[in-house]
C-alpha cells in the first residue's frame, strides 16, 4: 500500500469560483512581472509623501494580526491544558501558517530590494522596530513550519520525526507565544516613532498593547469565520460547543480593548474629537462601531451567540473592525500629516487580492490532503458528545 494514499481527485470542473480564481491569477502574474520589471512607482500609488500603502497596512499588519488565533489556541491547549479545544487547533494553526506565508510573500513585493532580505540577519540595529519585526517574522514562520510539520509527518507516518516533534513541542509552543507577543505588539511600536504624523485618534504610547489585544480578539474571530467557511466548503457542521465559548472570550477581549481605547483617548484629551465632523472621526466611529460595539452587542446576547449565523456575524464584524483599525493606523491616520490622499492602485489591490485568493486555495488543498479536521461527526469524533 502506498504511504501517500491521496483521495482521488474528482476531476477539475470549471466552477464559477475557479474561473474567478483563474482570472485573478492571470492578473496577479502580470502585475508581479510589472512590479519587478518597472519598479514600485509604475505599479503603486506610493510616493515620497506616502511611502507605505496597502501592502503594509493590509497584507502585513492584518496578515500577522489575523494569524494570532494560532498562538492563542496553541497556548490554550498545549500550555494551559484546556484540551477540549483540541479539535480546532489544527485548522487554526493552518490559518496562522498560511497567514505568515502570506505576509512573507507580500513583504517581497513591498521591499524595494527583496533579494537583500537576509541583510537583517547580518547587519544588526537593535534600536530599530523593523529589525525586531524582521526577526519575529523569520523566527515565528520557522516555529509555525515546525508546528505544522507535525501534521505532515503524521500524514506521511514518519513516526521517528513525530517522536522528535513530541519532545520539542512544549518549548516550541512557548517560543511561538513569546515571538507572537513580540511581533503583534511590535507592529504597533512601529508607529510610536511618528507622533507628529499619526492622528491623535490613533497615536498613543500604548499602541503596542492595543495591537496585541486587538490581534487576540481578531485571531479568535478568524477561528470562527474560518470554521464557518471551511464548514460550508467541506460540508461539516460548525462545532458550536467549541466556538460559542470562543465568542464569550471575544466579548472580554474586545471589551478590554474598547475600554482601554476610550480611556486612552480620554487621557489624551481626544474624546471630544470623536464627534467632530472630520474624516478621521468618521473613520474612527466606523472602526469602533463595527469592530468593538457591534460584536460585543451581538455576542453578549446568548440567543445570537448560540446561533450559528449570529456567532459568525459577530466574528465577521470583529475581523472587519480589526482590519479597519489597522488600515486607520497605517493609512487614514497618516494622510493629513502627509498632505496627500492615498488610494491604492489597481495593481496594488491585485497583489493583495491575489495573495488572499492563493491563501484560500492553499487552505482548501491542505485540508483535502492533510489530517487538519478531526474525524467527521458521526464517526470517531462522535464519542465526544
Amino acid at each position: 500500500m502506498s504511504v501517500l494514499e491521496l483521495p482521488r481527485p474528482r476531476g477539475i470542473k470549471l466552477t464559477f469560483w475557479r474561473a474567478v480564481f483563474g482570472v485573478i491569477m492571470i492578473l496577479f502574474l502580470y502585475v508581479s512581472f510589472m512590479r519587478f520589471y518597472k519598479g514600485l512607482g509604475a505599479t503603486t500609488n506610493l510616493s515620497d509623501r506616502f511611502p507605505w500603502g496597502v501592502w503594509i497596512g493590509f497584507d502585513i499588519l492584518c496578515g500577522v494580526g489575523l494569524a494570532a488565533g494560532a498562538f492563542t489556541l496553541m497556548a490554550t491547549v498545549h500550555l494551559f491544558h484546556i484540551k477540549k479545544f483540541e479539535p480546532i487547533v489544527r485548522p487554526t494553526l493552518l490559518t496562522g501558517y498560511l497567514g505568515y506565508l502570506f505576509v512573507c510573500v507580500a513583504l517581497l513585493f513591498d521591499l524595494g530590494q527583496p533579494w537583500r532580505i537576509w541583510h537583517a540577519m547580518v547587519y544588526w540595529n537593535e534600536h530599530s522596530v523593523m529589525f525586531e519585526v524582521a526577526w519575529c517574522v523569520m523566527l515565528y514562520t520557522t516555529v509555525l513550519t515546525l508546528e505544522f510539520s507535525h501534521i505532515v509527518f503524521e500524514r506521511l507516518k514518519w513516526n521517528f520525526m513525530l517522536k522528535i516533534m513530541h519532545t520539542i513541542n512544549t518549548p516550541l509552543v512557548i517560543l511561538g507565544v513569546l515571538l507572537s507577543t513580540l511581533h503583534q505588539s511590535s507592529l504597533g511600536t512601529m508607529y510610536l516613532i511618528v507622533p507628529e504624523k499619526l492622528h491623535g485618534l490613533w497615536y498613543t504610547p500604548a499602541l503596542p498593547l492595543l495591537f496585541y489585544i486587538s490581534a487576540i480578539g481578531a485571531g479568535l474571530g478568524m477561528v470562527i469565520v474560518e470554521s464557518a467557511l471551511s464548514g460550508r466548503a467541506f460540508g461539516h457542521e460548525l462545532e458550536m460547543d467549541l466556538l460559542e465559548p470562543l465568542g464569550r472570550v471575544m466579548i472580554v477581549v474586545l471589551g478590554v480593548f474598547g475600554v482601554l481605547r476610550l480611556d486612552l483617548l480620554f487621557h489624551a484629551g481626544m474624546l471630544g474629537t470623536i464627534f467632530q465632523p472630520i474624516y478621521e472621526s468618521r473613520m474612527f466611529l466606523l472602526e469602533f462601531g463595527i469592530g468593538v460595539l457591534a460584536p460585543i452587542l451581538l455576542l453578549s446576547w446568548p440567543r445570537i451567540r448560540q446561533s450559528k449565523v449570529g456567532l459568525v456575524i459577530g466574528a465577521v464584524c470583529a475581523v472587519f473592525g480589526f482590519i479597519l483599525y489597522r488600515l486607520n493606523v497605517s493609512i487614514t491616520g497618516i494622510e493629513r500629516a502627509s498632505g496627500t490622499h492615498y488610494v491604492p492602485s489597481w495593481m496594488e489591490m491585485t497583489i493583495s487580492i491575489g495573495l488572499v485568493a492563493i491563501g484560500f486555495a492553499a487552505f482548501g488543498i491542505a485540508t483535502r490532503y492533510l489530517p487538519i479536521f478531526p474525524p467527521a461527526h458521526g464517526e470517531a469524533g462522535h464519542a465526544r458528545h
Binding site: 532580505i117 512544549t170 511600536t189 507628529e196
Partner: protein, 249 residues
C-alpha cells in the same frame, strides 16, 4: 568637530544656486525638481511669503538611523548623516519616520535606493565647506561649527528682534539638528513641523524595545510555570479520577 549649516530664510532670495551646486557636486543630473526628490537633494520652496531652503537636517540623533533595520543610516562625528546604499533593503521606514520628510526613494527604478543630502561629506573631509554654502550669494546658507553657528543665530535674533521669530529651528527639535534655521514668520508657515518633541524620536520606540529581553525571560518563565501547573493538575485528576472533567490522553 561637528560641522553644521545655518539657513537664514530672511536672507534667501530664492535664486536656486544651492540646488544647482548640489546637483553638480553630487552628480545628480541637470534637471532640478520642483520639490526634493531622490535626484534633487535641496530646493528652495516659497512658503508663507518666504523662501525656505529644504534639505536634510542632519539630526544629532537621527530618526532614520534609529528606524533602519540594517543600520544603513548613521550619524558621523563630523556632522553628516550618511546612507549606505549597499545595506539598504528598501523597507522605506526612514522615509515614513523622518520628522522632516527628508529621505526620498527612487520610485522610478526597479533596483531602487534611498537618497538624500550628505552634507558634502567628501568636501568636508578635504576641509572644504559644503557646495551650497560656498555658492550662496547672500549668506543665507552659512557653514561652520554647530556651537559657533548657534551663537551667530542668537546674535542675529538679538540684533534685530523685530525681524526674526525668537526661535532657532533645529536647536532642540527631535533632539537637535546640525542644520539650524531662522525665520521671520512662524516655522509652521514654512511647512516645517512645530509639533516635534525636543528629544530624539528614537527614544519613543526604544522605551518599548528595551523591554524585549524582559518579555522573553519573564514571559517564558511564566508560560512554563502555567504549563507545569496545569499539566500537574491534569495528572492528579487522572490519578484520582476526578468527576466532571473528562480526561483524554
Amino acid at each position: 568637530m561637528s560641522h553644521a549649516l545655518l539657513l537664514d530664510t530672511t536672507r534667501c532670495i530664492g535664486c536656486g544656486a544651492c540646488s544647482a551646486a548640489c546637483k553638480e557636486q553630487n552628480k545628480l543630473g541637470a534637471d532640478i525638481d520642483r520639490v526634493n526628490t531622490a535626484y534633487t537633494w535641496t530646493t528652495v520652496q516659497k512658503a508663507g511669503g518666504v523662501n525656505v531652503r529644504r534639505m536634510c537636517m542632519h539630526c544629532l540623533a537621527p530618526t532614520c538611523a534609529s528606524v533602519c533595520p540594517v543600520g544603513a543610516m548613521r550619524k558621523t562625528v563630523e556632522g553628516p548623516v550618511l546612507y549606505d546604499a549597499e545595506k539598504c533593503i528598501g523597507c522605506r521606514y526612514c522615509v515614513q519616520a523622518c520628522p522632516f520628510d527628508v529621505p526620498k526613494y527612487q520610485w522610478d527604478k526597479n533596483i531602487p535606493v534611498v537618497a538624500k543630502c550628505i552634507m558634502c561629506a567628501p568636501r568636508l573631509a578635504r576641509g572644504e565647506a559644503t557646495a551650497c554654502a560656498t555658492v550662496c550669494p547672500t549668506g543665507a546658507t552659512t557653514f561652520g561649527q554647530r556651537d559657533v553657528l548657534i551663537q551667530e543665530a542668537r546674535r542675529r535674533i538679538a540684533a534685530d528682534p523685530n525681524k526674526y521669530v525668537n526661535h532657532i529651528y533645529g536647536l532642540e527639535e527631535a533632539g537637535g539638528t546640525s542644520v539650524l534655521m531662522l525665520s521671520s514668520v512662524p516655522f509652521g508657515q514654512l511647512g516645517l513641523r512645530e509639533n516635534l518633541p525636543n528629544k530624539p524620536l528614537g527614544q519613543l520606540t526604544w522605551a518599548v524595545l528595551s523591554h524585549v529581553p524582559d518579555i522573553v525571560t519573564l514571559g517564558g518563565a511564566l508560560l512554563y510555570g502555567i504549563y507545569w501547573v496545569t499539566k500537574r493538575r491534569e495528572y492528579v485528576q487522572r490519578i484520582e479520577g476526578a468527576p466532571g472533567e473528562e480526561v483524554r490522553s
